[in-house]
């Protein structure tokens, strides 16, 4: 089979990318989705708070997804469900599998990677103790509770204050479980402030910073966990151990972009984001393979995923139509003090439509700082931030005109102390 554009993943990223590519004149599009419906992980996020930026209203996850699914249907974009991509090559050959068609071989002119991310599991943390039933990632628990209608436990401890964990603290409480506490290794939450207020504080669920689970107890089913305070090097402090009785441990300890396919296609992966390096049109290091959403870097808000994916769809359309300028013009983006990463990584202003939205995360909590973008010594952008935290993604929009004026080979994003 030959296709102009194949999009791997039918979650919010893949849907938005498909819509934008179609609107930019590409008709021969195929979305490959491994689940039984479109919408991705949004389908199990039945809480609201989605769409504040894009639609200026509060939607639930499935409602947000439905708006895009409806548009995909209206635009007549082709998709295959229950379809898993097994292999992607550098020359954009895709092997996929589903129960209806069996093995599917596709040669695509362009590919958009929109596989999203997966949760870090207990193994990755190497938490000592036994290996009983009752240890779930927050997302797996969410699927059981919201999609299947089953409870995963009665007395719950949550490790990690990522958003899914916070949301599940509230969800489990509403379903009658006792959520004993959320323990967070860091001195700050990796989740959104609004989730801490609405999901923990409103239900009097304690959030213990600088704590972690050091042991899991129970032979067949979880019977309890030992928690301890940690020092500034994140190592447990002796003497602070405390046994907490529970039958369930939920893990909300981070998300990892799912880049197994990207690696097979020899796409360069950024060690910090665990996602591909991308340019102004969200193209990866491999010609004609684009990427967007959580497969590039983990977002907190789906609205930003959508924006980024529109850009990838636009980029892939330009590429297929031969309107994409590939020359040496442009510059790299670089992180300075306080910034952990910035996306995209390279900008050629010639391809920029009207602006680029740069997404970044800080590496610690800072108060009262300036977020500064410099071209050499010259300040390109500067804005005050009263409070920044690794849990909340920052973004800076720079217009095409501004980007065209960059003279150096690097644009540096950094935090600076506010001048007195």
């Amino acid at each position: 089979m030959k296709k102009d554009l194949v999009i791997i993943g039918g979650g919010p990223a893949g849907l938005a990318a498909a819509i934008e590519a179609k609107k930019n004149g590409i008709d021969d599009i195929l979305i490959l989705e491994r689940d039984k419906r479109l919408g991705g992980i949004l389908q199990q996020c039945i809480h609201n708070g989605f769409g504040l930026h894009i639609f200026k209203e509060q939607l639930t996850g499935p409602e947000y997804a439905q708006r895009f699914i409806d548009e995909v249907e209206k635009l007549g974009i082709e998709y295959k469900l229950d379809t898993m991509v097994l292999n992607l090559s550098e020359n954009k050959h895709i092997t996929a599998l589903n129960p209806r068609d069996g093995i599917i071989e596709i040669d695509a002119k362009a590919v958009i990677l929109a596989m999203g991310c997966r949760e870090r599991t207990r193994g990755a943390l190497n938490i000592p103790g036994s290996r009983p039933a009752g240890v779930f990632t927050a997302g797996a628990a969410q699927r059981f509770v919201n999609m299947e209608g089953y409870m995963v436990g009665k007395k719950v401890v949550i490790l990690g204050s990522g958003d899914i964990g916070l949301i599940m603290a509230r969800r489990m409480t509403l379903e009658g479980a006792e959520v004993k506490m959320v323990v967070e290794l860091m001195p700050y939450s990796t989740g959104l402030k609004r989730n801490i207020v609405q999901c923990l504080e409103d239900f009097d669920i304690p959030l213990l910073f600088n704590h972690t689970v050091i042991k899991i107890h129970g032979r067949e089913r979880v019977e309890g966990v030992t928690i301890a305070a940690v020092d500034e090097n994140r190592r447990p402090i002796e003497g602070t151990e405390q046994y907490v009785e529970c039958d369930t441990l939920l893990l909300s300890v981070g998300l990892i972009p799912e880049n197994e396919l990207s690696r097979e296609a020899n796409i360069k992966i950024n060690f910090i984001t665990s996602g591909a390096y991308v340019n102004e049109l969200m193209e990866t290091s491999v010609d004609g393979i684009f990427a967007c959403g959580n497969v590039v870097h983990v977002h907190d808000l789906v609205d930003y995923v959508t924006e980024e994916s529109y850009l990838a769809g636009y980029g892939a359309a330009k590429y297929i139509k031969g309107e994409y300028i590939k020359d040496e013009t442009g510059f790299n983006t670089k992180t300075g003090f306080g910034i952990r990463y910035v996306v995209p990584n390279r900008i050629n202003p010639k391809n920029v439509k009207d602006k680029v939205n740069f997404y970044m995360r800080v590496n610690d909590v800072y108060h009262n700082v300036d977020l500064v973008v410099r071209d050499g010594e010259r300040i390109v952008y500067k804005a005050r931030r009263n409070h920044v935290s690794p849990g909340e993604m920052e973004n800076v929009k720079l217009s095409k005109e501004v980007l065209e004026k960059v003279e150096g080979s690097e644009l540096v994003f950094a935090l600076e102390e506010v001048a007195k």
Binding site: D82, P128, A133, G176
Partner: protein, 474 residues
């Protein structure tokens, strides 16, 4: 009334059961756990030892070398992953080198073939990722790796094909003799048998006490392991040992037959036999120990860690004897027990025969067992054929290992098939990958419930009590 009852369905019990199934006998295997290989067999190094380690003249040495030679054939007959990858015992100084020379001589005495002492350059040319301060090594080309639980499952299935009955979730409470018959009381009722084999692993001393045999104790010794992502599975291709010290064999680093890498085990004596928890200190020790041999081990690449418990006999050697008339102990089968088991089995059967058990070869003995071929391992033609017959092979359930619904269903429907999430995992690797079941576990639970026709809330991770769901939502 059975002719022979075997207590324990680990690698020892299943090897013996399969051996007995060659003959016209009524055989039952009694296992307290809900699955085959759920004790020490599921959590060990998976090494088929060459046989230079055990002291000359011991049962360990004898059955190790015999077993090592039998392995390839048995794994081929039973369609079990086995790879003769060779092993190296590293020396880091002169003293180590002396020890290695001793092991070399011992190996020759024990009858180990293809042994060689090699110098630093040769070691590093074989394995470039070893630490530079290595000075030489003992190279055993016959060292191999196997998937221990898959072998035990295969042995059990083959025994079952040949008529051996398996009573799982059946705990032996009491054994006594009435006339010449063993009466075995269990939580599932009473079993009677003319002959009895004690292959109860960690609990073999308790069974021996029930039989009134000469006293011995099984001392549980914990070994902790870290399992690494397949991305780093190729750091070494051979199994890397360190020169043994008086504390034990040291930490080894080895690829697995499925392409992962593991590091472990340490050795800690314990007072409990059922505590399979890992400890911070143990995991640190294992990682540090592994890094003595190999460069580039990074805790970031660990996908899981686990503890196995060795059934260490207080007599130092394997205990294979007759505790009472018409019974045989096969106890204390610690390392190199996995290797030795397949050779111990015919010996145990011969001890039964000496006591009067009549062995008449079955005419219709099925010597081979075919494993479910995983979709991912099929040829293109096989894939297309299986897909045309069964669309379930077109649905990937475990994304990390690319295991399909068809694979999982077949693991459940096999003889002695999977009855739990862990059972599925050990048979077809769903949940063995880097996400450790984070994504596929809910789906495996659904498939188990559907195939076994039970409510979701009754699906278990492993044994009784390991329920996954606690009830319906409001």
């Amino acid at each position: 009334m059975y002719d022979v009852a075997v207590i324990g369905a680990g690698i020892v019990g299943t090897s013996i059961a399969r051996e007995l199934s060659r003959y016209d006998l009524n055989v039952v295997v009694i296992e307290k756990s809900s699955d085959i290989a759920n004790g020490s067999t599921k959590a060990n190094s998976g090494i088929v030892h060459a046989g230079y380690d055990a002291k000359e003249g011991t049962l360990k040495a004898k059955f190790n070398v015999l077993g090592s030679e039998m392995y390839e054939r048995i794994c081929r007959e039973l369609d079990v992953p086995y790879r003769r990858n060779g092993s190296l015992v590293l020396a880091f100084n002169d003293e180590d080198m002396k020890h290695i020379e001793m092991l070399y001589k011992r190996g020759l005495t024990n009858g180990v073939k293809e042994l060689e002492v090699i110098d630093k350059n040769k070691v590093l040319s074989l394995e470039p990722n070893l630490q530079d301060n290595v000075v030489g090594a003992l190279y055993a080309k016959t060292g191999a790796i196997v998937s221990p639980f898959e072998l035990a499952i295969a042995l059990a299935e083959n025994a079952n094909q040949n008529g051996v009955e398996f009573m799982l979730t059946t705990k032996v409470i009491k054994v006594y003799k009435e006339k010449d018959i063993f009466v075995i009381e269990t939580n599932k009722g009473t079993v009677e048998s003319r002959y009895l084999v004690n292959a109860a692993g960690l609990f073999a001393d308790d069974i021996n006490d029930m039989l009134g045999g000469e006293k011995f104790r099984i001392i549980p010794r914990r070994g902790e392991y870290c399992l690494f992502d397949k991305a780093v599975g190729g750091i070494v291709t051979r199994t890397i040992f360190q020169t043994p010290t008086n504390k034990g064999k040291g930490i080894l680093v080895s690829p697995t037959v499925h392409g992962n890498l593991f590091v472990g085990p340490n050795a800690v004596e314990m007072d409990r036999k059922d505590d399979v928890s890992t400890t911070k200190e143990g995991l640190d020790e294992v990682l540090k120990g592994g890094s003595r041999s190999v460069k580039g081990l990074n805790a970031r690449d660990i996908i899981t860690s686990f503890t196995g418990i060795r059934a260490t006999p207080d007599k130092r050697d394997f205990i294979i004897n007759i505790p009472t008339k018409n019974a045989v102990n096969a106890a204390g089968i610690e390392s190199p027990g996995l290797t030795a088991s397949v050779a111990i089995a015919p010996y145990v059967v011969s001890l039964l025969e000496e006591q009067g058990l009549r062995l008449i070869k079955k005419e219709n003995f099925i010597a081979t067992r075919q494993n479910t071929k995983l979709f991912i391992n099929m040829s293109e033609d096989e894939k297309r054929e299986v897909l045309s017959k069964n669309p379930m092979y077109g649905r990937i359930i475990c994304r990390c290992e690319h295991i399909t619904e068809g694979d999982i269903v077949s693991a459940i429907r096999r003889p002695l098939g999977a009855r739990s999430v862990d059972g599925v995992k050990r048979r077809v690797r769903a949940g063995m990958g880097r996400c450790q079941g984070g994504f596929c576990m809910p789906r495996v639970v659904e498939i188990l419930a559907r195939e076994l026709n039970i409510p979701l809330t009754e699906v278990k991770k492993s044994d009784e009590g390991s329920f996954i769901l606690t009830g319906k939502t409001k």
